[in-house]
Symmetry: C2
Subunit: 265 residues, 2 copies
């Protein structure tokens, strides 16, 4: 006798090594994996041979399945096969619509477990050495989405623009100009901004500027979602770290033949 | 020839399975591990036999080493032994004072790599099934610390109290009453609040209430740091999920003899 179980699993920001041990164990035990466009497909290699793998995400912004269809797919597969892993990019509870999937599964009498993932909102800046908080500079960070239920800009962005927090904005490239205007009105024209597309993957693209010019820079570089917009002085700290670090690496390389890695264990 | 390397590694919120594969690989290769009180010591078992393991954190709120002493320890060990893993609870860039350690290491010509961790700010609520964001209810979340460089309450908490964001406050138990007063003044006396101490560990303690009564509830239960305070309607969603789920589990158990796990795979 097998009870159905739905595991909402965070796949992390893109780098397949930025997934938790708990998530890998859930994937290994899964009878079915339902995965997003944002989940790294390499992670499916942890699945057992009998595991059914289905893509249920979005591609090119067009829905592959509606949320209702995804919910129904989760329930059908859990009742038929047992263990369903719903593999979501980043963390399931950060703009992941997890609560809609939990409600649907629970309504069908199915138990749901949550396995948190590394949120891109935190890890993507971190890989650019941008500390979201920094004593004396930013004592908080605010994570906002550009895409609200109503399709408008979240009113929270207006409040965030007035705060001293590092502001991290997800899924907002289509509204970048409007959002930067909000920060300008809040007197932050010269606040540094960094945008990272496909963070932590080999396709990663990074641009930096200020509130007043980042929109044009992004336009020139043709940046689009999935991208993360970071507004705050901490972005400058990150750039400085990267500069110093590349000179440290260069010194190391110049002191030997071949890449540093060869000389590490 | 070996170059010194400092890896700032996020150990996650407490559950030793909530660490990334990348972090485990760094620990396995480490010559030295310098760890915090918040890092789960079970993680040291991934280290190789020759690895030197040193505790450099705080215990009972009293500093074991000052930040300057920690920085010096990191540099000494990296220059002497090579690969140093600085293992920090949660994520190194979320109130982890990582930038101070990077600056010190870089100033000594040492390369630093960042390995993000699961932040307790996100994972601890998630394990209580509290979604930090929820379409139509909370379109953003704000992570604030109660402990600032100056020792006062972060002005961001005043702004956060006025926002529609889910507010997550870390390291703030000693200022709980003051902080709840700020939310009351912002007209949020009846907003639900949950406090989770030692989240994701076997010592986890959870209490819930509202802005107006949570301080007294916390006092009665004797809650203290490390604890996470979550202010927002989403906490109610979490409680409801937990209720429904325990009844689902109870139904499953009543339908069979023995625990559910026996009947899974």
């Amino acid at each position: 006798m097998i009870f159905p179980l739905v595991s909402l699993v965070g796949a992390g920001p893109g780098d397949p090594e930025l997934i938790t041990l708990k998530a890998i164990k859930a994937i290994e035990k899964a009878d079915v994996i339902l995965y997003d466009a944002l989940a790294n497909e390499e992670l499916l290699n942890y699945a057992n041979d009998l595991c059914i793998k289905k893509f249920v995400g979005k591609r090119m912004g067009c829905h592959f399945l509606s949320q209702d269809e995804i919910n129904a797919t989760i329930i059908d597969h859990a009742l038929t096969y047992g263990r369903v892993v719903r593999l979501k990019g980043g963390d399931p509870f950060v703009f992941g619509r997890a609560q809609e999937e939990i409600e649907a599964a629970n309504a069908a009498g199915i138990f749901v477990e949550i396995i948190p993932g590394i949120s891109s909102a935190l890890a993507v800046p971190a890989m650019q050495m941008i500390p979201l908080t920094c004593r004396g500079i930013s004592e908080s960070f605010w994570v906002v989405t550009g895409t609200t239920k109503t399709g408008g800009i979240s009113t929270d962005i207006h409040l965030a623009a007035q705060s001293t927090a590092t502001v991290v904005i997800l899924m907002a490239m289509s509204k970048l100009e409007m959002i930067m205007d909000i920060f300008s009105i809040a007197g932050k024209r010269d606040t540094p901004v960094t945008i990272i597309q496909d963070g932590t993957t080999k396709n990663e693209k990074v641009i930096s500027g200020t509130v007043k010019d980042i929109y044009f820079r992004a336009l020139n570089e043709g940046l689009s979602n999935p991208a993360i917009i970071i507004v705050g002085e901490v972005t400058t700290i990150g750039h400085n770290f990267l500069k110093i670090q590349s000179s440290i690496r260069a010194n190391e390389l110049s002191s030997v033949a071949g890449p540093r890695e060869v000389f590490r264990n």
